[in-house]
Structures are given as C-alpha cells and as structure tokens.
Assembly symmetry: C2
Homo-oligomer: 471 residues x 2
C-alpha cells in the first residue's frame, strides 16, 4: 500500500517486527480502508488487534466512503447536486479529518446540540448504551445567519461540505442547526474569555453565529499533499501497526514542540517501566500534533524532520517506536484539551498516556502568568469521566545535567547541577546559531531547527543582543 510503503521508506526500521513475542512473525499488511475489517478478519489481524484497548463506544467509527462499490462516485454526485454548500476553513478540514478517521469515536459527525452541551458542561458524552465517553472539546462546524436562513427556508436536511476551491469533500446529513454562543463556548472550554487565545482568533471570533451538526460521510481520505501525508496514519492503521508488532502495551506521547533528548529519555524510561510491570512488548506512539498551532510554534514540517533525525541517529529505538501525525488542531485549552489528546489516542489503540507538566498550556494571553495551574492537567486527566480505562503515566521531569553533560531526570538532591532549557531559550539559541549543550538534542535534530530559524531571519541579520541561555 502506498501510504505504508512511504512510511517504511522513511523509517525502514519500522517495517521490522517488534522484539516481543511477535518476533519472526511475517509483516503481513492488510488493506486499510474499504473492506478493511473483512480483510483484517480474514488474515487474523482482528484477533491480534483484539489485544489492544477497545475504541470508545466499542467500535472505531470510520466515515470515509469505501473505495470499492462505487460509493465514492455516488457520494460525489450527490454532493455536487446538493443546493446548499458550506465551505470548510483550515481548522474545519482538520476536524473533518479527525472525525472521518474515528479519532473522536463514537462521534459520527460534527456535534449536534446535545453533544455540544455535554462536551461543554461535562467533558463527556453519553453513548448509546448510557455509558459516558470522554469528549472535552467541542467539534463543531459554524455557519452564518444567511446560510442558516437559506437552509432552513428550504427545509433541507443534507448539505455538501466543500473545500476552498468549491470541490465537494463530504456530505452532512440529518442536520441540526443551533446557536453558536461563542462567549459561553470560550469560557467553558478555556476557563477565560481573555482576548488573544490562538484557536479562538483562528476559528471562533470570525466564525458564524450558528452551528450545524449531523451525520458525516467523507468522499475520500483527507490528504494535505505537503510531503507529510505518509505520516498521517489513521487510528485503524495505527491499530494494525501495533497488532503487527504484537504490542501488548501502547504508550502515547503527545508533542507539539521540538523533540529533544529529555523526551527520548522519558520515553525510553517509560518502556523500561512497562517491561518491569510485566509487559512483553510496549510500543511507543510518538505522536506530534499536526493541525493548527499558534504562530510562534515550530511548524510541523520542521518537527517531523527532527523526528526523522531522532530515529535515524538511534536516540529512540525504531523497533519499539511508531511515529505518526495526530491530525487535530490545537486549542491550548490545558486541562480541558489534554483529555481530548488522551481520548483520541485510546481510539488509536493506546492504553498508556504520558502526561507532562502543564499539558496543552500556554501563557495567559493578557496577564503575566501561565493560563493554567501546571498540575491541573494531570489531575483533571486522572479524574476525567470516560478515561477510566486509560493508564496515566505522569511525566518525570528531565533537565540538562551539567555534571554528566546529558539530559537526565531531575534530582532535587543536586538541583544546582540541572539546567532547564525552555522553549524560549531553545529558540533563542537556534536563532543565534549557538550550539545547545552537548547531549541536549541529537545533532541532526538541532541542525533542522537552526535551518528553520535561519529561513525566518531577515536578510541582513538582526543586531539584537543574544538572549541568555541559563534557566
């Protein structure tokens, strides 16, 4: 399969079977979309995949029309004939991608009002069987008043969703239109209404005053054609990869910052701990977020190049690591959002989730403090309804150990030996083409970062004084 082949080319190590009890097993591949379940069952993958944590709601929801049987062509014709078309923005498309692959299972489309209200008030929605499934961020589609009036005047129940070039992407049926109370949505999601929240400015402030929910059917898999699509593995593809490797534990690490050796240390140590707990083959899902991020975050393409270097240089063991892109946009909604990050990884087969200090946090947009208490994310995650099945692994703090010239777990008994290198400090070093302390990041990864900041620098160079390195 094209996607998997490209994946294997970039990370050839990944095509080898895992080191656990699956050793020596042939790396059979199955069709991922369209007839996937049947194919998997026929080849016994379903049986092995059965060892992974169940998706929320018991079944992975996949909303892309199957390739065979003419459904795609029929859906495309249907969409083209629909009188009402809603154009998707960048973030809308990312959510469509998320929904289409089942990251938000059991959601079957953009939220209707009952789901929206439950997400806002309870961070969880009730499934068909009455049990609670975690769902902390609203996954919604906005429309303006003119669009609403036109749809409702017709009594339409189905609308086409189109891309920036007006090409049909999906059909939303059995629609429900309800009010987009932006202030309340923002307050309940972020715990603040201060101006300057990146996601709010990108996707809410100028969005319509109405929301439309319904059942989604997507014409074909979402592609970005940015050279990174081979990393965009769906939950079903990831589950198959974990099954193929005979993973008996999958631990997920959400990352939206440049990867450094502290992360690698943590992940290696997590695998060691899981082996000590008796797991035979814990596999890491190293899962950088690929959707919308704020302007000063390092872009996805740069981060992915760094991830390649980390594996190429052996900082992480490719045999027990799967690198893929999580297609969600970033809310920077701290304790609320970390639940979404964790929940989506359950759907991809992860039963362990590593949570760090201040996950999905950022500085308060208008006050000189962090927006969230650094410990709240971990606490809220560990108590969240619908996440009871997930094992939360608290992040051990790593910092640069000046005594041993490498990243090490922070040891409070000799705290003077440790140097905390913040994102701001890292950026400052890279911008100034300084070298980081030896062993902070793999050389190839650092080079990628420096090249990125070089590409941003003004032609004649900046005359600003260099920023301090010490934490």
């Amino acid at each position: 399969m094209a996607t998997q082949a490209a994946f294997a080319v970039r990370f050839p190590q990944l095509a080898r079977p895992g080191r656990g009890h699956g050793q020596g097993q042939p790396a059979t591949r199955v069709a991922v979309r369209g007839g996937r379940a049947a194919a998997a069952a026929a080849r016994g993958v379903r049986c092995r995949a059965g060892g992974l944590i169940e998706p929320d709601g018991g079944r992975l929801v996949e909303l892309v029309a199957p390739e065979e049987g003419g459904r795609r062509a029929a859906l495309r014709r249907e969409a083209a004939a629909l009188p009402h078309r809603l154009r998707l923005g960048r973030v809308d498309t990312e959510w469509l991608h998320v929904l289409s692959e089942g990251w938000a299972s059991p959601l079957r489309g953009f939220m209707r009002e009952t789901e929206f209200l439950q997400a806002l008030h309870f961070n969880a929605v009730r499934g068909a069987d009455g049990s609670l499934v975690n769902m902390s961020v609203p996954i919604v589609l906005a429309l303006d008043d003119a669009q609403r009036r036109a749809i409702q005047a017709d009594g339409a129940t189905t609308v086409a969703l189109v891309d920036a070039h007006d090409r049909p992407v999906a059909v939303l049926s059995d629609i429900e239109i309800y009010k987009h109370n932006k202030e309340e949505r923002i307050a309940r999601t972020w715990g603040t209404t201060a101006r300057g929240l990146p996601y709010v400015e990108e996707a809410i402030t100028n969005a319509g005053d109405w929301l439309i929910g319904g059942d989604l059917e997507v014409i074909e898999p979402i592609k970005y054609n940015d050279g990174l699509d081979q990393y965009r593995l769906s939950p079903a593809q990831l589950r198959e990869e974990f099954a193929r490797r005979n993973a008996d534990a999958v631990f997920a690490f959400q990352l939206r910052n440049p990867v450094h050796n502290g992360h690698a240390l943590l992940m290696t140590d997590t695998r060691r701990r899981l082996l000590e707990m008796g797991y035979k083959n814990p596999v890491l899902l190293l899962h950088p977020l690929g959707g919308f991020t704020k302007a000063d975050d390092v872009p996805l393409s740069v981060r992915m190049k760094q991830h390649e270097k980390v594996l190429e240089e052996g900082v992480l063991n490719p045999e027990s690591t799967v690198v893929a892109i999580f297609p969600s946009p970033m809310h920077y909604a701290g304790p609320t959002e970390v639940q979404w990050h964790a929940k989506a990884r359950i759907n991809a087969g992860a039963n362990f989730y590593i949570v760090g200090r201040d996950p999905a946090g950022m500085g308060h947009p208008t006050e000189k403090r962090d927006l969230y208490d650094a410990d709240h994310g971990k606490k809220v995650l560990s108590m969240a309804p619908g996440l009871e099945r997930l094992n939360i692994l608290p992040f051990k703090v790593a910092a640069y150990d000046t005594k041993h010239n490498k990243m090490n777990f922070f040891d409070p008994s000799r705290k003077e030996d440790f140097l905390f290198i913040s994102g701001t400090k890292m950026r400052s070093l890279a911008k100034n083409r300084e070298s980081p302390p030896d062993g902070f990041m793999c050389p190839g990864g650092w080079k990628v970062l420096v090249e990125y900041y070089d590409s941003l620098a003004p032609p004649e160079g900046s005359s600003k004084p260099r920023e301090a390195v010490a934490a």
Copy 2:
C-alpha cells in the same frame, strides 16, 4: 419538637396525614437530630423512608455534632483553643448550613482541590465507590494569603470557623489549601467572565486568593433568628415528613420569585399527572431558595409570607404540599446551577424535579440578552451525570388566559388570548398599587407584595409614569 411544632402552627393542615394509603396513620414524630437514625428505626420510620430516593452516595451526610454525649461542648472547647480562626461571611455561612445538613451529600466539608476541579470540569465528583455524583457548583471557602501563610507556617491541620462576632461555629480538619483561580472558576461556572454577576461580586471578587477544604464538623444547627427558621427543614427532616405522609413520589419545585397562580396550576397539574402514572400519594416540596439573592429579587421574608397565603387561601392543597426553605445561596448560573438545585433535592427525598424555562437564569450583565439559552437548563439537566435517578418534569408554560380570567396553560392555537406577566411587569404593578388581572395571584399574596414595595417607596411617592402591563 419545637421546629416541627412551629411548622405545624403556621401550616396546621400540614400536620394531617396525606390522603394516600397513609390515611389515618398517626402523625408520629421522631427526634430529628441526634440519635435520629436509631429513633427512626425504632419507630419504623426508616422502613417507610426507605421508599424514598436514596441520597447521593447512599447515605445522608449530617455534619452537626450530636446534641447528646457532650460532643457539642467538646467541639466548642476545641474550636476555642485552635490558633487559626477563619471568619465566615454571609454566603460562607449559607454554604456551611448547606453542607452541615447534607444537601451536598456525599460532600463532608468545603471542597478540597480534587472535588473543586471535578465540579468545575465535569459538574460531577466521583464517589468512594467510583460512581459519579452530580456536583455542579463549587462549594468552597476562601482565605487570603496572610491567613494561608500563617496556617502553613504552623503546619496546622485544623482550623476553627467563626461567625461575625468571632464565636466558633465549626471546625475544619485535615485541611488542604489550594489556589483560588477566580477567573477560571467564574468562566467555567457561569460561561462568562463579564463584570456584574451578582454572586461573583458578593462572594468571589473580594474573596481571598486561596481556598481551604477539609472535613467539617459544625457545633450546632445553623439558625438565622429571622422568624423563618421553622421553615428551614433539613433533608433528614423533609425525608421524615415525606415518610410520615406516606409519599410514594416527591416532586420538588425550586422558586426564588413571588409565587403566583401559574405556579400553583403547574404544581396541581403535576400531581394529577403523577397520580395518572400510578403514584398513590405524590407530595410537592415547594421549596423557595433562602440564601443570597440579587438585590432586585423579592426578599425571602416577603416570599414566605406569600407562600403562607397561597396555602391559607387553598390555592395549593396543604395536604399534599410541604413548604420549606432551601438554604443555598443563588449563583444565577443557569444550566450549571440547575443541576445543583436538582441534586440537593434528591438528598431531601425528591425523585421528581420540575424544571422551567431558563432556570437559574438572568439577563447578561453587560449585554442586552439573556445570559443563557432558555432551553439549555432543561437539556443540560436531563443529560447531567449523576442525575440519572431523578425524573425531570419539564415545566408547562402557564400564562394569563384573558378569555377565562385565570392562569392557564398556554395554548398556541389561541395565543392572542394569553398575557405573559413577567417579573418586571409584576413588580411594576405592585409598585404602582395596581391590581393584577383577576386570578393571577391570590389576594393575600398580592397584598404582601404591594406592602413590600410600599415599604421601599420613597416617602413622597414617585412621579414616574406607570409601566405597561401587556407582555
């Protein structure tokens, strides 16, 4: 018992047994506090009370020291000797009252951080058995930085809570102090951070930047000595009253506005519907809120006088009605707060809850619109975790039927016949000593209202033009 005697004097009808299968049963009374459970069991009340809905967590939490055995005196001595004393404000005392009687069961004191975070993020807290119990508003106690430092410098684990005259009221033990992030608390509770929210201005804005949680023990029952204490029945007292009446369904109605014949119609109709459903003796808990309300709400004393008139004049049937005061302060937090209002009534034995349009709502403090969507309260309540056992009865809209000159359920087929009389309109009529339409409110109840507004009027009278009556 004094309290019950006073209750029976005010509403002598209430001492009669219900009309259901309990008819003719002697109106035995049991001691309410101190040895209550034992006494109840001995007299068979426990058995009858067993027919009522179970309190949240399975057991009603009562935190007032028992009268016998010297515990009150010992606790008073203990409190007097404690070096750290926190003075309770008005709203703090109301929450202490709420906690002490078990309205917030299974909470055993002001919230610790895990409870606070769960209330804010999930509107529910996990009980000891892992099940979710609804808890939508934070019940917390604030302290300032100097107090926090003093307590923590000592390593104190217990503090005394004292009233405005520095008299010990309770002891809080096994304390935990954590940050009071006011902005986040407000945003997540109200869905807005706009200035002018009454509860926020009363109890949050000027409160300390820290919160203290712990196990509460209250020295003696909270009394207000305002002539209304006899209406302040605890959940245990209410449960005994319902058991005594052999209620097989209890339907609660939360009210903070003047009671009128539309309410009475709704309540009478609800009882009729419950009888049709097969219940033999549905009892109404008519339960005006008695704690903090915003400045322009009609004061509790006036509302209680009106309730007396409604029963005296037979607008409501005293045999199937229990009038009592709900001691909670009012948040005006709409869909978030209505859950608290409902949950607290479960603890008092109610298994049906009547929910109206825009419950606990108010106008947006800075914009010209309602703060909440009028339907959200009902929707959120019906989906709330931990309230699955409660039957939600949607309020049927009543309005003044000009054709029949009485309050009637709104009939959209002849909507021109109906007159909606808002709180603002009612206030305007009463202020101007105009009569309301015949049958809108019982004459005694109206007189109470007019007298109240008279007492507020400036001595020489206002020359402002009279406000319109039509809706």
